[in-house]
Symmetry: C2
DNA sequence: TTCGATTCCGGCAACGTTACCGGCAACCAT
DNA sequence: ATGGTTGCCGGTAACGTTGCCGGAATCGAA
């Protein structure tokens, strides 16, 4: 019922001008302590809240960050919480949009957020995106853009990510050390940087241990449980089937696990399995799946911090690139050797 | 670099007035077809986008819905996607805030969204909330509020939920029919309506089958895997331990499962288990856990639709209450009898 | 007494948009 | 011709806020 109070209401009630009220409410210089006190008291009484719309319109800043993510699975939703936490602290509001891994949707989200006049973007790109013109358009408007988690070399922007190569490396080396000989990798979509980096780590580990890479053991498939399931079935149907699988996500690891069980094979005895992301589900299934853990919440926080930094010194856009370290969590699915003390 | 074009720019370039441009861009009545065409063409060329801030300020509508959820777990994130889908279609933007099940945070979220001048709220209440004054304040401002999933009798508002009583009933009756005799229930926090309704369903099923209710078998604990784990351990340590457990969420079911395994008991032979929500994890663990499925995505869509309705005829605020039906999914954890054809 | 400095305040314009009102032609019917 | 209708357009105010400028009042000092 009650319309929210405005500066005008306060001014009228105190018989002073709008300008004075406005100054009293914030600057405090150039205003009589008594009137200031009176204004404060009345604004309290009327429960005055500055109208953000008017403010934003005036100073051309909405204090809003547009966040675009491919989905809100366990890891990304943790990251978003990290972003949210830091942003809130700094007086920003975040608007989260899901692209659902769709390129078209991502463009739509960008446009929508641009229309909402966000002050900048924090982005994790969709796996479907091969063109990045829509993001470049943002930068042309001189709005800060920070890329996180799913970074891409095709977009020049400050970024925060984990060391995916390292992750792929430790996962693979662990399998090698456990005595697995034919290690397959379920890589994600080919154009996704994250996917390729993890695979590079895999390749590096092979090279280090002088294992020849076998193209038949490298399978690209969609970031998805069902695809992983069928891909694994095919792998297991090979004449010389792999004796271990590294999947670049836990979703895919689950798919692989189901396929392995379906074939009646045992983990870790017949097949070793390591996933990526360390989603809670990996510790719940039987056998529990080894996985590469990443500091998701921290990563989100770092992204938001970097965004705010970038925002404050726009000229100094020299592309900071922050890289966090992943950590392998070993569970039953890959623990073939007895645990050495 | 380029500042976005405004109506003023168009007017200047065409040597006509602001008003005419404004009318040409939308109303189309009262404006010469030729000038209209010219305006359209130029606005296209300049890539004109109406400034939402100015619009909102002018017409006192932001076309934004504030959504407050206790968390973004599997079920709620599905619901939010449902809300998003319908809202977008109707030209609304949603701002999602997580209360993290915290009362204080919920108040903070409310205030923030109110400051952002959202047009209304779609809310699922935190489990910690016992007072609802902050929500009532919204209603006093004459903003539409729709409650979904976690409804509460203490807040008078249109709502969308599933039939939790029914869900509790079918889950419990299923356990009874499978031959379980001492059925315990892990209920959630006591003040949470959802929790109590599901428990009511449990009680109704007992009553129907003439089983005496045993207070020792009714355990309230936090909505949380760890609490459920310990609560289950205690249940299993009883002299006359239960032979089945119904948990009102899958998180709790997981906790219960871990406790049951820890004790070396078998499901479904020694203990039957049914959860609630039908999260994907229930089908992945061993044994797969029976669970009550709910149409989450649909529920979200229904909530958004109801919101938009409520928004359009505010006077007609006669508290529509929409109830969707849950559905029991039977899996290994409760399938004691052979499946009858 | 006069002048400059200081303190405090109000008016105006602007951010980008639209609602409202009024005005000027041109047309038609009387 | 006159008056009313219609089609088209422009000016103004307003949404709530702040930045800028100028001005009045007061005070201290020369």
């Amino acid at each position: 019922m009650e319309k929210p109070a405005t500066i005008k209401d306060i001014a009228k009630r105190l018989n002073i001008s709008l300008s004075t009220v406005s100054r009293a409410l914030r600057n405090a210089s150039d205003v009589n302590p008594d009137t200031k006190k009176a204004v404060m008291a009345l604004s309290e009484e009327l429960n005055y809240q500055p109208n953000k719309l008017a403010l934003s319109l005036r100073q051309k800043q909405t204090h809003t960050i547009g966040v675009i993510v491919p989905n809100l699975d366990y890891v990304l939703s943790l990251m978003v919480r990290g972003i949210d936490e830091v942003a809130l602290e700094a007086g920003f509001t975040v608007m989260v949009c899901q692209s659902n891994e769709s390129f078209g949707r991502e463009i739509l989200n960008t446009r929508r957020l641009l229309e909402s006049l966000v002050d900048g973007f924090i982005i994790s790109v969709s796996s479907e995106s091969k063109s990045f013109e829509h993001f470049k358009k943002i930068q042309e408007r001189n709005l800060p853009v920070v890329v996180f988690d799913r970074v891409t070399p095709h977009l020049t922007a400050p970024s925060v990510r984990i060391d995916n190569e390292e992750g792929g490396f430790v996962a693979t080396e662990h399998l090698i050390e456990q005595g697995y000989k034919r290690i397959a990798v379920l890589a994600g979509p080919e154009n996704l940087g994250v996917s390729n980096s993890r695979m590079d780590g895999y390749l590096n580990a092979l090279k280090k241990h002088k294992i020849k890479k076998d193209p038949a053991l490298i399978v690209h498939c969609d970031f998805n449980q069902d695809y992983a399931y069928f891909a694994t079935l095919e792998l297991l149907a090979m004449k010389k089937r792999p004796d271990a699988i590294f999947t670049i996500s836990d979703r895919m690891a689950i798919g692989a696990m189901l396929a392995i069980k379906k074939k009646g094979l045992r983990m870790p005895e017949d097949i070793g399995l390591v996933g990526f992301n360390n989603e809670p589900v990996t510790s719940l299934v039987t056998p529990a799946i080894s996985s590469v853990d990443m500091p998701s919440f921290e990563l989100g926080k770092a992204a938001a911090k970097l965004f705010i930094e970038t925002m404050h010194n726009k000229e100094n856009m020299d592309l900071e690139e922050k890289v966090l370290k992943p950590k392998l969590i070993i569970r039953e699915s890959s623990q073939k050797l007895p645990i050495k003390k």
